[in-house]
Amino acid sequence: MADNGEKLRFPLDAQTLQRLDTLALATRRPMASGRPGRRRSPSAGSSMEFSDFRRYSPGDDFRRIDWRAYARLERLFLRVFEAEENITVTILVDCSDSMYYGTPRKAELATALAAALAYISLKCEDNVILGALTDRLVSYRRGSGGKNAIWNIGDFLTRLPRSGSTDLNRSLYDLGRVVNSPGLTIILSDFLAPGGYQTGVRAVRQLRQEVALLQILSPDEINPDIQGDWQLHDSEGTGTVDVSISPGILHAYQERLATFTQEIAEFAHTHMATYALIPSDMAIIDIVQRLLRQVELVR
């Protein structure tokens, strides 16, 4: 069990966790992982939920034959029940330098949100994989076995690496080494990657993952509050931009940002993914209980 020091290092406090207790992560369709759990599975199983009848074929379990139906119809029918399985929820946190800018820092919200989502998943007896992304999948940690695994997760989250540039395509491609069953993959990033994110997300989809893209932007990225002549340096060292702020330029930036977020939304729509834009100054409980509910990632 985790000691006191590790407890303190979990990104969320007990009160927040208590409010998260009633929530569960939602997937668009059932997934078959083969591991028993609490989620409805697409395959038939041995739960108490009646699902269907089917004709008997040799080799079937006699115990599931509906003898009453046989008495009426003189045909053998098998009663089929729904299966309940768990899934693997993969939460990927962008740890590149760009996440450590903005007020408040986007990384802080990303960490807290990852902790909240991991907690919700573990509570629902799902398996959790937490991964840190920069220009590759830097590290990851598995967690399973209910709420008790949160200390493990918390430990990982507090020791997230912080370095390097963003290469979402490559780091998401790396996920294939880790994930081997269908599940839900949640990507927490600002998606401000020069190389784009599309290839990586498609690769994740290939792993039979449902994808949720949670874009975290700081308020000064959504609504820049600068005046005068500036030379803007990229935090990841990809170059500088000279800007003379004028209403026209601010307008152009807003237009560009709108186009960018719209592109992500359209991409998400095309790939059956969930998308939400989260300002980094939003309260964690608001995000989970209101925003993610609206996009039906949480129920």
Partner: protein, 684 residues
């Protein structure tokens, strides 16, 4: 338009420098942000590695170039030819004499002259200097050598018209001293040319121009007013002049002490003068006031005042056995109220201003002035009188008191004996013989004392025509009038009133009841507020008694009353001045102050634009435009909605209009080009 400094146009190099500054990229502040991805995409068209950027025509640039052009223009000192009535350093002499009050030029000649000078001040060039002098009895410098139009106008407002005559010679000599040797200065006299020194043409070392004011307006004037007692009847005389080209009937009213005596009308031919006589003036009248009751351009000469007899009378006691010479001579004096007694009946009552002792001296002398005639042998206040001795020849002594004015002593033939007089040190010998002084006079201890050493009956002096004159002089010396003569004072002249011995307070009340105290201290100060015409009352307090005297101020100046303006000034080098004529020099007048004012406006506009732009940048930027995509589970979570401010709204509207207009312009240009291309192709 001419440029005084065309080389200053070289400063127009500043315009390319301004453009260069706009081409150059500004020095930027450094800032690290999360990602420049969006900025790069947004600012693709602004990114260039060159230090130059595409020139954007902004209002600020236009204003700055405009300001630069204006500054260069100002430096080049543009000037235009302006019609100027005067140029260089000028002394303007504004006539402020009585005739300038005439209203033949509305509102008056003086105001009209003042308006003309104000015009000259308004058109004053930047290098012109003006001095203003008013010309009346004494010229007065209002302002010297000033280029400040406000100061000049204020000085001009200080000028006041007077009831005085105008002394051109003094004014020109003052102007000459103001010139201080600068012969390039010119003198401009503004007025009607009625100056007091018209008899001889003056030669001055500078050019004098004359701006004539006024018209040949008809005027009637009183030239004299006097009174006389003829066979115990008081008769008043007035002389009236008709300064007009037509024959006129001029009615004149006469008031005796404020009561109308009668109105007499005199009919005078053109430029004629005539006299009026009133025979029914009540006796004991003190002041006479005549008034012409016609409407003329000038009214100040329609009034005249005079004092009947002496303005103040002294009580004189003649103590004599029977001296008819003295009695007759003193009784004739207008300022004497004579009483007579004999030495036997004489009692010292102390109520007399002058006591005359003839052949008798009382043991105690009364207060007041004393005149001893033929004092018996003895020692007195004035010295000693010895026994009668022989006198050989009569002649004048030291007459500093002017008692022998118009007195001819050479006709005295019979004077053989006299008491030899030994005068006190404060007395002077007025008439003397080689043996002894015959008439001594002096002032001591606030009393005037005169002694005649012989009996009038022993000489033929009492029979001479000089005797009444001598008595008159003595009476005037003993009991002086405030103003000698007939009490007439010219307006504007300083009056030093003569006080009686023992006067301890003298005040003068002007016609508008302003009281001025001229003494103490004694001798009295000159009184110079005599500009108003009318009666000035002089009140003296002598030994506790108030003594009323008076003097009058009348115009009585034919030069001022004749309104037709003088054709020329009595100066040899005088020329006429025409404000807008051809003789006026065309003068280069710089116009840079107006251009500088325009520059200020441009700079204000630039500042306003700059501050306006600054506020728009500070205002919240407009909201991220939301574009909903159907089906996508996308939400713009929590982008804070910000209310666009009023200015931002206006800015947006202007921007839309601007882009619309720009599109239309581009379209029109494209079409024009296309058409032009078609035309050229066809022509080929």
């Amino acid at each position: 338009m001419n440029l005084l400094v065309p080389t200053a146009l070289a400063f127009s190099l500043i315009i390319p420098i301004i453009l260069l500054l706009y081409f150059m990229r500004p020095k930027r502040q450094q800032r690290t942000i999360a990602s420049t991805l969006l900025w790069q995409q947004a600012l693709q068209d602004m990114q260039a590695s060159r230090p130059w950027q595409r020139l954007r025509i902004t209002p600020l640039l236009i204003l700055q170039i405009l300001a630069a052009i204006i500054i260069v223009l100002v430096l080049a000192r543009p000037a235009i030819f302006a019609n100027s009535s005067i140029s260089g350093d000028t002394i303007i002499i504004l006539q402020a004499s009585a005739s300038m009050q005439a209203t033949d030029v509305a509102p008056s000649r003086f105001e009209s002259a003042r308006a003309d000078i104000a015009d000259i001040i308004d058109n004053l060039g930047p290098n012109d200097h003006l001095s203003l002098i008013t010309m009346a009895r004494t010229p007065q410098v209002l302002i010297a050598d000033s280029n400040d139009q406000a100061q000049l106008r204020a000085a001009l407002q200080r000028a006041r018209v007077t009831n005085q005559d105008a002394d051109l010679e003094q004014a020109l000599s003052l102007a000459n001293s103001l010139m201080n040797g600068r012969t390039s200065m010119q003198v401009l006299v503004v007025g009607d040319g009625h100056v007091s020194t018209t008899d001889k043409a003056m030669l001055v070392p500078f050019a004098v121009r004359y701006l004539r004011i006024g018209t040949d307006a008809p005027n009637a004037a009183l030239l004299t007013l006097s009174s006389r007692t003829i066979s115990n009847k008081l008769v008043a005389f007035a002389q009236v002049a008709n300064y007009s080209a037509q024959q006129r009937a001029i009615p004149v009213e006469l008031y005796a002490d404020g009561k109308l005596v009668s109105v007499q009308t005199v009919t005078l031919g053109p430029q004629g003068t005539g006299a009026i006589q009133w025979n029914t003036v009540p006796p004991n009248t003190r002041f006479l006031h005549a008034q012409i009751i016609t409407q003329d351009a000038m009214t100040i000469d329609h009034q005249a005042w005079t004092i009947v007899g002496g303005s103040q009378q002294g009580r004189v006691l003649l103590v004599t056995k029977d001296n008819s010479f003295l009695r007759a001579a003193f009784a004739l004096q207008p300022n004497v109220s004579l009483s007579e007694t004999t030495p036997q009946q004489y009692v010292n009552t102390g109520n007399y201003d002058l006591t005359i002792f003839d052949g008798y001296v009382p043991p105690t002398l009364p207060d007041g002035s004393l005149f001893f005639v033929n004092p018996p042998q003895g020692s007195y206040l004035f010295g000693t009188s010895g026994p009668v001795t022989h006198v050989s020849r009569v002649g004048p002594g030291e007459d500093t008191l002017n008692l022998l004015d118009s007195v001819d002593l050479s006709t005295i033939h019979t004077l053989q004996t006299s008491h030899p007089l030994k005068p006190a040190p404060w007395e002077q010998s007025i008439i003397s013989a080689p043996e002894t002084p015959l008439l001594i006079a002096g002032e001591n201890n606030n009393r005037r004392v005169a002694v005649l050493g012989f009996d009038l009956h022993d000489s033929d002096l009492g029979l001479q025509p000089s005797f009444p004159i001598l008595v008159h002089n003595l009476a005037d010396w003993f009991l002086p009038q405030p103003v000698p003569g007939d009490g007439q004072v010219t307006a504007g002249s300083a009056v030093t009133v003569q006080t009686w011995p023992g006067a301890d307070r003298v005040t003068i009340t002007s016609p508008d009841s302003r009281v001025s105290t001229v003494g103490p201290p004694f001798p009295v100060q000159p009184y110079n507020m005599t500009d108003q015409v009318g009666i000035y009352r002089v009140t003296q307090s002598v030994h506790g008694q108030l003594l009323d005297g008076a003097f009058t101020v009348n115009l009585f100046d034919p030069t001022q009353s004749q309104l037709a303006p003088a054709k020329t000034l009595p100066i040899l080098r005088s020329s006429d001045f025409t404000p807008n004529g051809n003789a006026v020099s065309r003068q280069l007048r710089e116009i840079w102050p107006w251009i500088a004012a325009l520059l200020l406006l441009v700079l204000c506009a630039e500042w306003w634009l700059f501050s306006r732009g600054y506020h728009i940048q500070k205002a919240p930027a407009r909201q991220l435009p939301g574009r909903e995509i159907g089906g996508a589970r996308r939400i713009q979570g929590g982008i804070p909605s910000q209310k666009s401010t009023f200015t931002a709204g206006i800015e947006g509207m202007l921007h839309e209009r601007y882009s619309l207009a720009r599109k239309q312009f581009l379209k029109a240009t494209k079409q024009a080009r296309k058409r032009f291309g078609q035309v050229t192709r066809r022509s080929r």
